[in-house]
């Protein structure tokens, strides 16, 4: 029983660790920021889940298992938020290799909206302020 649990745990740990390595490879090899973010989300979700499952099997006691579950839940909740914030800024700053795009349905409109270019509606500048950038 314990031998079987150990085998399952080590399989999970090895797969998760391999995903961490491919994430590093992807970070180095992918051509632009948006592609590198794909490499980054992978260990954040699948890899962390697998490693946490493996660690929870190996560690005795429910207290540790609950805390590892909490780590996995935090990752699942926070990874999309930070990925979205970064990718949005990256697109606005044109960190996109356009020659590698097969199609772009978003178009240049994504970073030419003169009124609203922040992260949140609350960031939008007041219109009567006079600091409104001129749409070029």
């Amino acid at each position: 029983m314990t031998a079987l649990a150990d085998v399952v745990a080590f399989a999970c740990l090895l797969t998760g660790a391999a995903l961490c390595l491919t994430a590093g490879l992807g970070l180095v090899r992918f051509p632009d920021v948006l592609s590198r973010m794909h490499a980054g989300t992978k260990p954040q979700v699948l890899g962390v889940l697998l490693v946490m499952v493996g660690a929870a099997i190996r560690l005795d006691g429910w207290a540790n298992a609950w805390m590892l579950l909490l780590v996995a839940a935090f990752q699942l909740l926070t990874a999309p938020v930070s990925a979205h914030l970064i990718s949005r800024v990256a697109y606005r700053r044109r960190h996109v290799r356009r020659d590698l795009l097969l199609i772009d349905e978003f178009g240049p409109a994504g970073h030419q909206d003169p009124r609203y270019r922040g992260d949140e509606p609350g960031d939008a500048p007041p219109e009567e302020d006079g600091v409104l950038p001129q749409p070029s």
């Binding site: 961490c20 994430a23 590093g24 490693v51 914030l85 970064i86 949005r88 700053r93 044109r94």
Partner: protein, 109 residues
């Protein structure tokens, strides 16, 4: 058992090293943010692997902290750059001292 442990540490260490390479190479701030984010996640995976191999639960609370720190760090930097873009007149932060994106430089040259 030791072979598996060695393989695990090698895989995770390799991933962390490659993330460090990206952190050093850049070329842009956002690349470094992504690399730092990934590096912290890989570190927390490494801590979990350590806990699993040694069967010692002492590092488990550290995991919670590291996983939250990664989020707070990348979000605050992303929002900082977003705020700069907001004040910028050209729309990509050139006038406020942000360097031009490497991808655009390639297109122009």
């Amino acid at each position: 058992m030791t072979v598996v442990g060695f393989a695990l540490y090698a895989l995770i260490g390799g991933g962390a090293l490659l993330a460090l390479v990206r952190l050093a190479l850049g070329p842009s701030l956002l690349d470094r943010v992504v690399a730092t984010d990934t590096l912290l996640v890989i570190i927390s995976a490494g801590l979990a692997v350590y806990a699993a191999l040694e069967r010692s639960p002492t590092v488990v609370p550290v995991l919670v902290v590291v996983s939250l720190l990664a989020f707070v760090g990348s979000v605050s930097v992303a929002r900082y750059i977003g705020g700069m873009l907001l004040r910028s007149r050209t729309g990509d932060g050139r006038d406020l001292g942000l360097p031009l994106a490497a991808e655009v430089r390639e297109e122009q040259s």
